[in-house]
Symmetry: none
Subunit: 195 residues, 4 copies
DNA sequence: CTCTAATCGAGACGGTACGTCGCGTCTTACG
DNA sequence: CGTAAGACGCGACGTACCGTCTCGATTAGAG
């Protein structure tokens, strides 16, 4: 609506080494900046400068900084959702919970940026959007709880809990986190409950 | 840090009828715009135009649109937190829950804008910030659950649940909402639990 | 063309003592400010503040600061022109010259402001305009010199010379000034000349 | 004193063709506007619009319209002063006078704008400033006439005379102008004189 | 190993919104 | 009941980024 054609190449299948190098530099610089301030206080010129690339070059790879964030976020979120889905299954939620927490712990730096940095709000929305999409076909587990609400609460609860955990200087061990996670977020939604 | 002197008057004790009129017009126009798009896509010129006031006049009342939103949000949130606090008390959470839901239901239009419009993210942060502040002195209710986490989960859960509820075309009755609220958000945090 | 009607009263025949007081205060404050900076760097609020009157009150007396300057300038210039005219007469230019210089010397503060302060350019134009008007009916004194040119040169020369004189810390005596005035400005225009 | 950092480049050595094109367009549009109204009634937006460039682009080349005028004026004035200086020399003032008048005549359009348009006052000041600077080292030609006064009178007289000449619909021939110039402005200052 | 095309840097440019300032009009409240 | 105080609409200011668009310079990888 806003823009005309952009002269951006399609680098998706590029084999040129420079392309990969440039993309990596952008990503790295961008995540570093996101650690420091919210998305809308970061200028593209800043990213380009931090990545030691030309301003114009940024646009050859990403149409906007928002789009860049979405690209990064989407791929990371997919991993997490794949790990998180079994959590809601009937089998062994405690084990799946632990697996998910460990995954985040292993990529602490990245997730810390995503969840506690300037991208948090964007990420939350994307996270919930993708979760709802994945869970769209599910049937309700409880007659008193619309499935959609369940997904929203679990997803947002997960994000908040992980964000809190990543912010701590002396984070509690993963096992304890998994217990909190299970008791406050998972069980209330999937378990049978007595009023 | 950014600005030099601003020529803004202190209107807090203003008695001039025009002042109230102008402030009301700004607020109304702003909330209408927030219904349609996120905060950062709203320009001050748009607000001024919609409120039928001069562009400059906006700054005579609010230093920025962010500040305006915070002013509005803070006062509304305070009301809600006052109603919400007893919910966590030991006595009768179900009753307090119902009271809070009814309050939101009675101000549906306003809260709908705040929670589901372009201000949602700002409001969430402010909400959690204020909740943490209010709850700072509390002692932990559970040895396995840090008090801070409890507050965060209850607050964000509340926001998500209310936001979902306000988005529905055919919203479920308040009583049912209160049940969900109690089972998924309150009880898991304040009650004793069996693993 | 720009403005609608102004609610300005006509105070020209006012007898109210306050009116005179106010006008005097404006005039005084204005001239003081003109000593310090050019006209367009002086704001009306500044004048009003310096004159200890309300901002709006200024407009009850003068439509704009430019107009105010013109009012002041015009009356002063008229005095000077009346003294200066005989200078060009055939009788005794040296004597008239001396008279004029003495007049300026006696009102040094005022003329210093008018000629060397921020009003200089406006004053020059007004001065030349009035001079040309007064001298419109004159007949040329020399066949080789259009009357208009003569008036312009004498007028602008007078202004420049007086401005220079008023700027000096140790001004030369009036008598010497009159000599310069006569030799460089008056004589070349009115006297018969040998090429 | 006024401004913070300006993002203006140094175009003095620019080779980009667009730069020259833009600068020329600005200059042309600016001079055209100066023909019509005084400097302070011209807005930068007007200049930009008339030059068919973006508003912001103006500032990439000139910090303000006043500065732009000074740049233009300074370069033109330098030419004229170089021609005018020999006029005051002892040799052949009549010839130098003629040369100078011819130069102005050949650039009638430009000088007409500078001297009779909205820039006249600014130009006068700059002219006198530069003249005094150039003539700073001179020694007085007459014991009764301070050198500074001589420079001021010659310079301002020159400007007034040229301005008058350029304003005429049927201007007198250059030769007659040179005679007036010599008799009324040059001779009275440099020649020995009998009281 | 060359050379040709892809990629990049540098930055000029037209825009849009910002927040500030001063103007001149108009309204209100006070004395 | 008139006047000061000041709220207001207006429009220009100068700044900051935006995203588009040339330009050459460099460099990879195909011939």
């Amino acid at each position: 609506m806003k823009h005309g054609k952009i002269y951006r190449s399609d680098y998706s299948t590029a084999t040129d080494a420079r392309v990969h190098q440039t993309r990596a530099a952008i990503r790295k610089a961008f995540l570093q900046l996101l650690d420091q301030k919210p998305l809308d206080q970061i200028t593209i010129r800043e990213i380009a400068s931090a990545a030691s690339i030309g301003y114009t070059t940024f646009f050859r790879h990403h149409p906007s900084k928002e789009e860049l964030l979405n690209e990064i976020a989407a791929s990371e979120i997919k991993h997490l959702i794949e790990l998180a889905m079994p959590v809601l299954g009937p089998i062994d939620s405690r084990e799946a919970t632990l697996t998910m927490c460990r995954y985040v712990a292993e990529h602490r730096a990245l997730w810390s940026t995503l969840l506690t940095g300037g991208a948090a709000n964007v990420l939350r929305e994307e996270f919930i959007r993708l979760s709802l999409q994945v869970a769209a076909s599910w049937e309700s587990t409880n007659e008193w709880l619309p499935a959609e609400v369940g997904v929203i609460l679990v997803t947002s609860g997960t994000i908040e809990l992980l964000a809190w955990w990543l912010k701590q200087k002396d984070p509690i061990p993963v096992e304890k986190l998994a217990i909190i996670f299970d008791r406050t977020i998972i069980s209330p939604v999937i378990n049978q409950q007595r009023s």
